[in-house]
Symmetry: D2
Subunit: 106 residues, 4 copies
Amino acid sequence: MQLSDIQKIHGQFCKERDWEKFHSVKNLSMALAVESSELLELSQWLTEIESNNPSADLLKRYKEELADIFLYLLRISEVLKIDLLESALSKIEINGAKYPLDKPSI
Amino acid sequence: MQLSDIQKIHGQFCKERDWEKFHSVKNLSMALAVESSELLELSQWLTEIESNNPSADLLKRYKEELADIFLYLLRISEVLKIDLLESALSKIEINGAKYPLDKPSI
Amino acid sequence: MQLSDIQKIHGQFCKERDWEKFHSVKNLSMALAVESSELLELSQWLTEIESNNPSADLLKRYKEELADIFLYLLRISEVLKIDLLESALSKIEINGAKYPLDKPSI
Amino acid sequence: MQLSDIQKIHGQFCKERDWEKFHSVKNLSMALAVESSELLELSQWLTEIESNNPSADLLKRYKEELADIFLYLLRISEVLKIDLLESALSKIEINGAKYPLDKPSI
């Protein structure tokens, strides 16, 4: 199972439900921001340490919110015909130039 | 190049910069929400149609924001030892039960 | 009833429930972002025109989300001893310098 | 200077710049979420204690972001003809029913 498989399955899922007409980049960006805040909500009153040591129930909720964010991310990428893996790799390079290592890593 | 490759490369990138100490789930969730809003900002004054037809410059900015969101998503998944692809697949199933098709798709 | 009255009533409300220990600027900023996304959620699949013409039920939900955002805004301002009205006025001046009028308004 | 004064001044400011055509509830909700995340960004890598003890520069940035959020909150309230102070008071009552005190406050 690869990223492109999930993207295809989810694209088909949305198509079957006639959701494509709602899936403008503007609307999908809103939906993605909403899901990101649902993730945020899970740790808003926790300490950092607590957020890293979730109960089984909290872990399940983390998983669901991460999945929701990921699915919208895949949808926007599809609408814009952007290759997410390639973009991420290229962003790591940009970040590498922005935050160079003082000394080379071993 | 697969999702797990990017995740390893980016994990190593963060490790080399000694960023792991900042990467609690709480902090990473904040960072992910911030990046999601940077994507949101790009279309906030556009119509839906305009958001779908970006200039070359806007497309480049979309790409960078999507990459930033994706990289934080990979980081949180790594910290929580969550398999993002498996979670997404399982979420599509949950959504399928929530939004059943009236008639089977062809 | 003035802004400062609401701020006092709400501050007292939080104090009585022993919530002050949770109310760091970091946590309150997260809570405010979460509430802002709950507002966002209400119009995510609406057209702009639809968002401006809410049903009675949607209007009620707008009202509640706006109130939630406002209450957290008042809390953060209180924790930081920031005068919200004065800050807003000063920000309008900054914006005026940033977006000058081509010709004076009548 | 009262909330309603700021609201009037800012409404006039937007009108003079012909921004009203962009100010649908949908768009303003996006703008408010974007500003909330700019506030969030300021404390994303800070501890809670650090977030509560800002330098002069950070305090200035907190102030500006709080003002931006407040101004969009006033705009949405104006577009929807919602009384923010009255809504906040009514929300405190709802919260009081949701989170009752075990014993009456003195």
